[in-house]
């Protein structure tokens, strides 16, 4: 466009339909790296990202601070052999709603606004678009969670240090920061895949919050003896329980049943992989 157009060799030559116009801007072969850079621009240039992540950090750090305040006020209550990092759990449980929202919005907001048609026209490889979104979202969610959870854990251990509580072991540190951050980022990725399947923001967010809460609510109403096994399974494998596993004491599980150690991460990894497989198939098959 801005290139000087005065000499037009195409016009002088007889209309050779095959040659047409050649752009002076060098053409590169587009790949996943381009898509990732593009998705990074997208995710940082809308306010909804800033708001959801801001509220998320506010919840995690705010609830952490509230508990820290409680520790300072009544330090004797927090003695014992329990994992001192466990207090970070509550903030992340509430904050998971924000991660779910951001994950869903990363894909579904494009469908809501119609942007997806522009995106898919600019990058006809739909799997590449989904992969780029997943990579960028995962890194953003993981980094934010690691920062917030790490900060809260550091503050709590520092405050508990003087009260006679034990220091967390290395394994506990790893699970309470890196592990839980990976888990929450995977939960967000699951939401992202669900957003790509449902293509509707409100529907996908509602479904994901239901997935987090429904097993616990259902279990609470299953007071019948015959349903005891199902109740326990629902309770053990509900997402809040899976998150709590990252704060369990090393070696000793509170319960015989249910996930332990790093099991939760493998469970969510499997769920996310399955959701992505469905999303990819649908994405390839459906009209945008």
């Amino acid at each position: 466009m801005s290139t000087p157009q005065t000499p037009l060799p195409q016009q002088a030559a007889p209309p050779s339909w095959e040659s047409g116009y050649t752009s002076p801007i060098p053409v590169v072969r587009a790949h996943l790296g381009h898509a990732i850079v593009s998705e990074w621009t997208k995710i940082r240039s809308v306010r909804s990202t800033v708001w959801t992540l801001g509220i998320y950090m506010l919840i995690v750090l705010g609830m952490g601070a509230l508990i820290a305040w409680a520790i300072v006020r009544v330090p004797s209550e927090f003695h014992g052999s329990e994992n001192p990092l466990a207090f970070g759990f509550f903030g992340l449980l509430v904050g998971s709603v924000c991660i779910i929202t951001l994950g869903v919005l990363t894909v579904a907001s494009e469908y809501g606004t119609g942007m997806i048609r522009t995106t898919m026209t600019a990058c006809p490889s739909r799997i590449r678009v989904l992969a780029a979104k997943a990579v960028v979202f995962f890194l953003v969610a993981f980094t934010t969670t690691l920062f917030s959870a790490g900060l809260v854990a550091l503050v709590h251990t520092a405050l508990l240090d003087g009260t006679g509580a034990r220091q967390p072991t290395g394994e506990e540190w790893l699970r309470g920061t890196l592990g839980i951050s990976l888990y929450l980022a995977m939960l967000g990725l699951l939401s992202l895949a669900v957003g790509a399947i449902l293509r509707h923001s409100a529907g996908a967010i509602t479904l994901m919050i239901g997935v987090v809460l429904a097993p616990l609510v259902l279990a609470a109403f299953m007071q019948v003896e015959s349903l005891e096994k199902l109740r326990d399974a629902l309770f053990d494998y509900s997402i809040p329980s899976q998150m709590a596993v990252f704060y369990a004491n090393t070696g000793a599980t509170l319960r015989d049943s249910g996930p332990s150690g790093w099991d939760s991460l493998w469970i969510i990894l499997g769920m996310t992989a399955a959701a992505f497989a469905v999303a990819c198939v649908l994405l390839q098959k459906r009209d945008v």
């Binding site: 466009m1 339909w17 752009s23 072969r29 850079v37 990058c123 006809p124 009209d287």
Partner: protein, 389 residues
């Protein structure tokens, strides 16, 4: 170069696009015309790989869109101006599209300048007017400096300056040797912009020919005949004489007659023999709009009708004349001249003249028009019955 072969798209039991085959060539602006709901946008979406065709294929430079190695560098598209995230600024919107295909970021500022959105580049696109949104969409299409450009209704919502700009832009893009494919439902706009026309109705191909051939093949010339206003019986007399001679006579709003099917000298002779004086006898060529209307009138899905206001009218005051109907409103075939008879076309002075001055060798010009003349005859068969209503 866009090539569609047997393109078909079915939504449930509705056939949106029906066995459409056409080629869009470089170096020309090709207009893509059809009434609302005729399948233009669906075809555009299939070209861009957004919708999968039920049958048939469409390729760009020999490849399906989804197999192009770097699609935005070969094809630029304006599908609809609302396909943006309203919370993102114009510049960031274009930047993320540029990054997707490895286009340098300074190109973004270039196209922002081209479409005149430099001053609002940092503003969120939610606040954009329809025309500004359209400009942003055009900027996105130009971003990759592609050799094939598709525009779906590009002048929607643009101001007169913008419309003129888009017209010139498309012509200059085509002059650079690019393929420019523009859909519109405005025939008058296409008459000014396009070199070649592809007309569809109800998903089927109605015409694929140059604009000049289109007019020559589809618009009948007609004569405007005016008898003295003071003597209405002369007008009736002339009408019956001309009708007997095989002409098709339609009264016009101002009392003149629109006569088709007879050359002007013959009308004059008949009037003279009948002893009818003429105040006016003038040749007219139907516009592209009229040609298009006649071609697509059978294929219109959504047709307006006259607002009857049944039972809601106030009784007219005694002595008042009922208002005259607005020409054309609720009367689909009112302004539609009967179709050119294929054998008579040579004798009709206007059509003979226009096909003679088209500056093209006669043989190739006749070739593409032949199938269309046949298809144009179908809708025209019903024209007289619609006139009678």
């Amino acid at each position: 170069m866009i090539e569609a072969v047997g393109l078909t798209k079915r939504y449930g039991d509705k056939l949106a696009v029906d066995n459409l085959s056409f080629q869009v060539r470089p170096g020309a602006v090709t207009g893509f015309l059809g009434p609302n709901g005729s399948g233009k946008s669906t075809t555009m979406r299939m070209i861009l790989g957004l919708d999968n065709p039920t049958a048939g294929t469409v390729t760009i430079c020999g490849r399906p869109y989804r197999e192009l190695p770097n699609a935005p560098r070969q094809v630029g598209a304006l599908l609809d101006a609302k396909a943006v995230h309203g919370g993102r600024s114009a510049r960031n919107h274009l930047l993320c599209l540029a990054q997707l295909s490895g286009i340098p970021a300074r190109r973004v500022d270039e196209v922002l300048g081209v479409v005149g959105l430099h001053d609002v580049a940092k503003k969120r696109s939610r606040g954009f007017s329809l025309g500004m949104g359209q400009r942003l969409g055009i900027a996105a299409a130009l971003l990759g400096d592609p050799q094939v450009l598709l525009f779906d209704e590009p002048v929607n919502g643009l101001d007169p300056e913008g419309i003129l700009w888009v017209r010139n832009l498309m012509k200059s893009l085509a002059a650079e040797g690019r393929t420019v494919f523009v859909s519109s439902h405005l025939m008058s706009e296409m008459a000014l912009t396009a070199d070649h026309l592809i007309v569809i109705g109800r998903g089927r191909l109605l015409a694929d020919m140059s604009v000049k051939d289109f007019i020559a093949a589809n618009s009948a010339g007609f004569a405007r005949v005016r008898t003295p206003d003071t003597e209405p019986q002369q007008r009736e007399k002339l009408t019956s004489v001309l009708t007997e001679a095989g002409a098709h006579v339609l009264p016009e709003q101002d009392g003149a007659l629109r006569v088709t099917g007879l050359p002007l000298p013959r009308i004059s002779d008949l009037a003279h023999e009948a002893g009818v004086r003429l105040w006016e006898l003038s040749p007219h060529q139907a516009s592209l709009e009229e040609a298009y209307m006649r071609m697509t009138q059978e294929a219109v899905d959504y047709r307006s009708t006259a607002d009857q206001k049944a039972g809601l009218m106030q009784p007219l005051p005694p002595g008042a004349e009922p208002p005259l109907p607005v020409p054309g409103q609720g009367q689909p075939g009112w302004y539609v001249p009967p179709p050119p008879q294929r054998d008579e076309r040579a004798s009709a002075p206007d059509t003979a003249q226009s096909s003679g001055t088209s500056g093209r060798p006669a043989a190739p010009a006749e070739q593409p028009s032949a199938p269309v003349a046949a298809s144009a005859a179908d809708p025209a068969d019903s024209a007289p019955s619609e006139d009678a209503r």
